[in-house]
């Protein structure tokens, strides 16, 4: 059973989250080409695996993971986010990944839970 760090305030570590998410993306779509029939399943898998890995770290956070997969065909995409929270404890990270046929942008938001 995972243990929670209680008592002291833990700030979000974006590097650790970023590494966990990169591994999840590689695990799901690493080495495959874009497939319209499977993309829904891929985004759901990436999000679910990322959440599982983040929760396994055992930190007292609520997580929101957002994943966008786009086919490479010359079209552009811009993403932005704006947050109203406690900057000392909460944080986010964004991971950009691409291969020959598609782009994948995953954003993780972590909001501290007071224990």
């Amino acid at each position: 059973m995972e243990e929670y760090h209680s008592g002291d305030e833990v700030a979000f570590n974006p590097d650790e989250a970023s590494n966990a998410v990169k591994e999840c993306i590689e695990g799901v779509i690493g080495g495959v080409d874009y497939n319209q029939n499977k993309v829904n399943q891929w985004t759901a898998s990436i999000v679910e695996h990322s959440l599982t890995q983040l929760v396994k770290q055992g930190k007292p956070f609520k997580y929101i993971v957002n994943c966008a997969v786009m086919q490479k065909s010359g079209a552009g995409l811009h993403t932005a986010n704006s947050c109203y929270w406690d900057t000392t404890t909460d944080g986010s990270c964004t991971v950009r990944w691409e291969n020959r046929t598609m782009y994948c942008v995953v954003s993780v938001f972590a909001v501290a839970v007071a224990l």
Binding site: Q36, K62, V65, N66, G76, A80, N81, S82, F109
Partner: protein, 180 residues
């Protein structure tokens, strides 16, 4: 031996804590020497009053609290429909007939700030807000977006709005996470 202010003795028997409080006030007016003598003979009672000031009664008026309350659930849940209409008016006004260019990066940032500020103005206490905006070009390419969260479903929520014109699409999501 008790001091001359024997009034205090009878008060103590009749009223308990309140009279102990008044006894402290009276004692302050007496000679300090007498107080020291009193301390020796009535060590228990006097010591209690002097050494533990918190035994004084605290008056709490209705609506106040002597300590900070823990609210594990919100008094008012974040309103999805109202937020969606606010998002719609903000996005429609800003994007309108805009064409997709490289400067849409700044537009996306500006729009996410505007949505976050509009939601803040609704003044829902103890809610942390995360605004996410994606603006993409409409050009024969597929985009799939999914989100998932680990949170408290009773208190936390999200609202989304998708805008589309001839040149671009905009996906706007606002997550509201309750601070327990």
């Amino acid at each position: 031996m008790l001091p001359r202010s024997s009034v205090t003795c009878s008060d103590r028997r009749g009223f308990g804590r309140e009279s102990q409080k008044s006894r402290v006030t009276i004692k302050a007016e007496n000679d300090s020497k007498q107080q020291r003598n009193r301390t020796k003979k009535n060590a228990g009672a006097v010591k209690t009053e002097e050494s533990i000031p918190w035994t004084r009664s605290i008056t709490i008026h209705p609506g106040e609290s002597a300590w900070r309350p823990y609210q594990t659930a919100p008094h008012r849940r974040f309103p999805n429909e109202l937020v969606r209409s606010v998002m719609k008016s903000t996005v429609d006004a800003r994007l309108g007939c805009l064409e997709y260019t490289a400067s849409c990066s700044a537009v996306a940032t500006e729009l996410s700030d505007s949505i976050k500020d509009a939601a803040k103005r609704l003044s829902y206490e103890r809610y942390k807000l995360i605004s996410y905006v994606a603006i993409g070009q409409l050009r024969d390419s597929d985009v799939t977006c999914s989100s998932r969260g680990v949170w408290c479903p009773a208190a936390d929520t999200f609202t989304e709005y998708v805008f589309k014109n001839e040149h671009l699409f905009a996906l706007c999501i606002l997550f509201a996470v309750y601070q327990e």
